[in-house]
């Protein structure tokens, strides 16, 4: 039943495209994410029959219907929990979770925390558009303070969550961010997530052109990217700008600071280390920008090895069988005091 995904027959985008017509609004960022994924899969050498997309509820959660793989469109917020059961029982599968900010951070926040800290082998894609789309435009847990929506006519007073900080706080072993305007970068992040053993969390800045159009335009528009996106590269000094003239340092208070490279000297720039044992640097980077209107890091924040859940479960089964022998029901029923009646 199981096949090694890396040695299966080669596939094309068509092999990953279901016969269902996507029903997202025209111009939705979800289309570019879907396309990036369908194009990436053949490159990875993944096999459709060994791939499962699991989702909750929301616009993003329709994603599984459009992938010609196994899929489950579940209930609101619970995709990580559904995927946890599947990935724990079936370590041979590639299990992806797709959801929006309301799905994964609000109603399903609890499951996100626990699937990450358990290091379940699932790849969680958070399509963050900072709004509730399918319910037609209420503020979400990532909406900025002051956001005027149908349910916040005088502006939201709720402090938003920083998804990457949440993921890092939940002991995630892989954390990355990308955006829907850059297919190559998305594919690179999805690839890295796919290659990671354990839970991977990828935040995708995704434009909702109907209810929150342009939420990320300040940083993702082509002409803004050089000055507003800080592309993280492992082992490289963290710098950005058209000429790499801007950079990030850690000041004497231990805080990250944006600087002109010319002012501090290249040698003083912070070197990115996605494999750092502690998540402190990744966490600081996740806090560098307080919203998509300041220079914002994208790329892999953290990628460390950790014990993956299903393999540990499997190991315990093997250990128990080694220690006690394979289960014998006849003996189990007689494992406590028994007596004979003649």
């Amino acid at each position: 039943m199981t096949t090694d995904t890396s040695t299966g027959p080669s596939t094309t985008k068509a092999d990953w495209t279901s016969d269902q017509e996507p029903r997202w609004c025209p111009g939705c960022g979800d289309y570019s994410i879907l396309s990036a994924m369908q194009l990436l899969m053949p490159q990875l050498g993944a096999q459709p029959e060994n791939t499962v997309f699991v989702s909750g509820i929301g616009c993003a959660a329709r994603f599984p219907y459009y992938m010609k793989t196994y899929g489950m469109h579940g209930i609101h917020g619970r995709a990580p929990a559904l995927a946890t059961g599947l990935a724990t029982c079936r370590p041979d599968l590639d299990v992806w979770v797709v959801g929006g900010d309301g799905d994964i951070l609000s109603i399903g926040g609890n499951h996100l925390l626990h699937s990450l800290r358990r290091n379940i082998n699932i790849k969680i894609l958070l399509f963050n558009n900072q709004i509730y789309g399918l319910t037609k435009g209420q503020y979400s847990p990532t909406s900025e303070i002051g956001k005027v929506t149908k349910s916040t006519p005088l502006g939201s007073v709720d402090e938003p969550l920083n998804p990457l900080s949440v993921a890092l706080g939940a002991e995630a072993t892989f954390v990355a961010r990308t955006h829907d305007m850059d297919r190559n970068h998305m594919q690179e992040m999805f690839r890295r997530a796919w290659e990671h053993t354990g839970a991977a969390f990828v935040e995708v800045y995704q434009n909702c052109n109907v209810f929150n159009d342009g939420a990320f335009a300040e940083i993702t528009k082509k002409d803004k990217r050089p000055s507003m996106l800080i592309t993280l590269e492992h082992g490289e000094p963290i710098r950005f700008g058209a000429e790499g003239e801007r950079g990030v340092i850690m000041n004497r208070s231990g805080e990250l600071q944006l600087v002109d490279v010319a002012d501090v000297g290249e040698e003083n720039l912070l070197i990115h280390d996605e494999r750092a044992e502690t998540p402190s640097l990744a966490f600081a980077l996740s806090r560098l920008s307080s919203g998509p209107f300041m220079p914002t890091p994208i790329g892999v924040f953290r990628a460390v090895e950790g014990p993956e859940y299903a393999s540990q479960v499997t190991r315990q089964l093997a250990f128990a069988q080694d220690r006690s022998g394979p289960g014998d029901l006849h003996a189990l029923l007689r494992s406590r005091a028994t007596w004979e009646v003649a």
Partner: protein, 628 residues
């Protein structure tokens, strides 16, 4: 209670009892559950039939000596078949004033009270709310009372063992056990062996408990206090190998058996909740059977993980109690909509809300049957005795797998913790409940190409194909949105939704042809019947037996399945003038019977956190018979 009395060579008599109902009561920290359990075990090994009722507070350690800290354990041991832990106890062991105060009312008038007199000092009397000393103020006038200084005698016997006085005191429950073991002629070896096995690695604890137990036994023999000892002879039970089992253990083993009979791996995902947690504990220790257990972050995650496992081709199971079943409702609806096997086990307790976590009730029937939005029928199976939980688990898994549906299995706190001797089944007799995964396309498209339609049903069962991830060519998507009949594609068509709603309902209704008929126990013509479901079976069985002994004919009908109902039930009920329906709720099944069959059954209800006694049922039967 006395059958025969024979003079013993000494001055004491040995009296034969048909049955003994003994209740051990003390502080939560006094080890009463353990004491009761050991007495039970020795009685079981001796060959008695028995049934137990652990009755303990929700607090782990309520303030010592208080009424709400009282923990009790009742067991009925008999030389004949019994199906309940007995009505009023004939013997009460009270370890402190609070235990005496809270439990004495239950005791049969004229019954025996064995009291740890050391505990009856002013502070404890105050805590129990006694203004006068019940040992001297006439409270015990109508009982046979034995005052035994258990604490001091235990300390005394442990003095030379190098055990600290405080630790020695903790062994006083074994002293009490020793006394009653002597008084009721229980074998001592099982208890001594058990102490060695349990505490062998902690030498001093083992020594103290052994010494306390032997001292208690010797005290009974030498103290010239007891005029007689009592013997409950072995029961005439069906030949075979027996073990003593409680409902939660039987349920756990039943799940293991079900997985073997289905040839599929078992995945249990649960969130800790009283009184269901012991199933998680038991199965998490059975990994050598290939059982995967998962303690989820909450009730919803637990049932979701089980659904995920089922999607992957495992048997997804989640265990819970009432509050958890409420939380799982939406996910059960998902499983119902995507038509995957799922077993949800509800060990019912007193509700609503947190209710009475450690007390029994059977008030989740409506929740199990109707507790989902939309038209969402599913099979409901109910266990009726501790050992029968084993078979109920297999049956529930069978239905879930065969019909690709969530199934709710109802047990309750009384079955979960109550134990009884179990004639071990021959494993060869267990049903084969295996099902086939779909591995090939099941249809062709307009051009004649093979295709897989995930909602193309088996015409006999109306079950859809179960194709698990990893199967080439059968990739498909399932989800909670309404699906088009056959293809499973999202469909908002009005006619299709009507069709799918009816198909889902018909699938469950059709199961009526695949389950046994109503369980009927009839001993002669009568126009009165008692209809039971769940654990009340025991009290009804016992009551019916009593009535028949008095030449009163009454039939006993029992439902092992609550949805769909047994196909013959309507016809059966129509034969009686009076049908009594005793339930540990306010009449949930009675309402169903009335609406389903237009038969005005007589509802008998009890919602007090304790099971019906056989006397209560017998009184109701007597009333109904006299009315006729």
């Amino acid at each position: 209670m006395t059958d025969t009395a024979t003079q013993q060579p000494g001055s004491r008599t040995v009296e034969d009892l048909e049955r003994l109902v003994i209740r051990f009561a003390g502080d939560s920290g006094d080890g009463m559950q353990l004491t009761g359990d050991r007495f039970t075990s020795a009685s079981a090994l001796f060959g008695n039939d028995l049934a137990t009722l652990p009755d303990f507070p929700a607090e782990i350690r309520a303030p010592a000596g208080t009424l709400h800290g009282v923990s009790a354990f009742q067991v009925q041991v008999a030389s004949e078949t019994v199906t309940t832990p007995g009505d009023a106890p004939t013997v009460l062991v009270a370890m402190n004033p609070a235990a005496l105060r809270s439990e004495l009312d239950r005791l049969e008038v004229g019954g025996t009270v064995i009291i740890n007199s050391d505990a009856f000092e002013e502070r404890n009397l105050d805590k129990a709310g006694y203004t006068d000393d019940p040992l001297t103020d006439g409270t015990l006038d109508h009982y046979t009372t034995y005052l035994v200084p258990m604490t001091s005698l235990t300390k005394e016997v442990c003095k030379d063992l190098g055990v600290k006085p405080r630790d020695a005191e903790r062994s006083k429950n074994f002293f009490a056990l020793g006394v009653v073991s002597w008084l009721f002629d229980r074998p001592v070896e099982p208890t001594l062996d058990w102490i060695q096995q349990k505490f062998g690695s902690r030498e001093k604890v083992a020594a103290a408990n052994t010494a306390a137990f032997k001292a208690g036994h010797a005290f009974g023999e030498t103290a010239e206090m007891f005029q007689a000892t009592y013997k409950v002879r072995p029961a005439e039970l069906e030949p075979g190998t027996y073990t003593s089992i409680n409902g939660n253990t039987a349920l756990s083993w039943g799940l293991i058996a079900a997985a073997q009979q289905a040839k599929l791996p078992l995945f249990l995902a649960s969130y800790p909740i009283t009184p269901a947690s012991d199933v998680l504990h038991e199965l998490s220790g059975r990994k050598n059977f290939g059982v995967r257990t998962f303690q989820a972050e909450d009730e919803i995650a637990a049932v979701c993980a089980a659904v995920g496992a089922s999607f992957g081709g495992h048997i997804g199971v989640t265990t819970t109690s009432g509050p958890g079943l409420a939380l799982k409702a939406e996910t059960i609806g998902l499983a119902l909509s995507i038509e995957l096997p799922l077993l949800v086990i509800d060990i019912q307790r007193g509700g609503p809300s947190t209710g009475l976590p450690t007390k029994t009730e059977a008030s989740d029937l409506n929740l199990a049957l109707y507790g989902r939005h939309g038209e969402a029928p599913l099979p409901v199976v109910a266990a009726y005795s501790p050992s029968q939980c084993f078979f109920a688990a297999i049956e529930a898994v069978r239905l879930a797998l065969k019909y690709r549906t969530p199934v709710i299995l109802l047990s309750d706190g009384y079955l979960a913790n109550g134990s009884e001797p179990w004639l071990l089944p021959d494993l060869e007799d267990l049903p084969d409940i295996s099902v086939d995964f779909t591995t090939q396309p099941n249809d062709t498209d307009a051009e004649g190409n093979p295709v897989f339609r995930p909602y193309l049903r088996d015409p006999a069962t109306l079950a859809r194909p179960w194709a698990v991830p990893g199967t080439p060519g059968l990739m498909h998507r399932v989800g909670g949105l309404e699906k088009e009949d056959g293809s499973g594609n999202i469909s908002y068509s009005p006619a299709n939704h009507g069709l799918m709603t009816e198909l889902r309902a018909n699938k469950v209704a059709g199961i009526a042809a695949d389950i046994p008929p109503t369980w009927v126990d009839s001993d002669g013509p009568t126009d009165v019947a008692v209809l039971s479901w769940g654990s009340v079976w025991g009290a009804v069985t016992s009551a019916v037996r009593r009535m028949r002994a008095d030449d009163v004919q009454v039939d006993h009908l029992h439902l092992t399945h609550l949805s769909p109902l047994h196909a013959d039930l309507g016809d059966l009920l129509g034969r009686y003038r009076t049908v009594l329906v005793p339930e540990m709720n306010l009449g949930q099944l009675a309402s169903i019977i009335r609406s389903q069959y237009l038969i005005d059954v007589k509802s008998i209800t009890k919602v007090e956190g304790v099971p019906f006694t056989a006397s209560e049922i017998a009184a109701a039967i007597a009333g109904a018979v006299n009315d006729n």
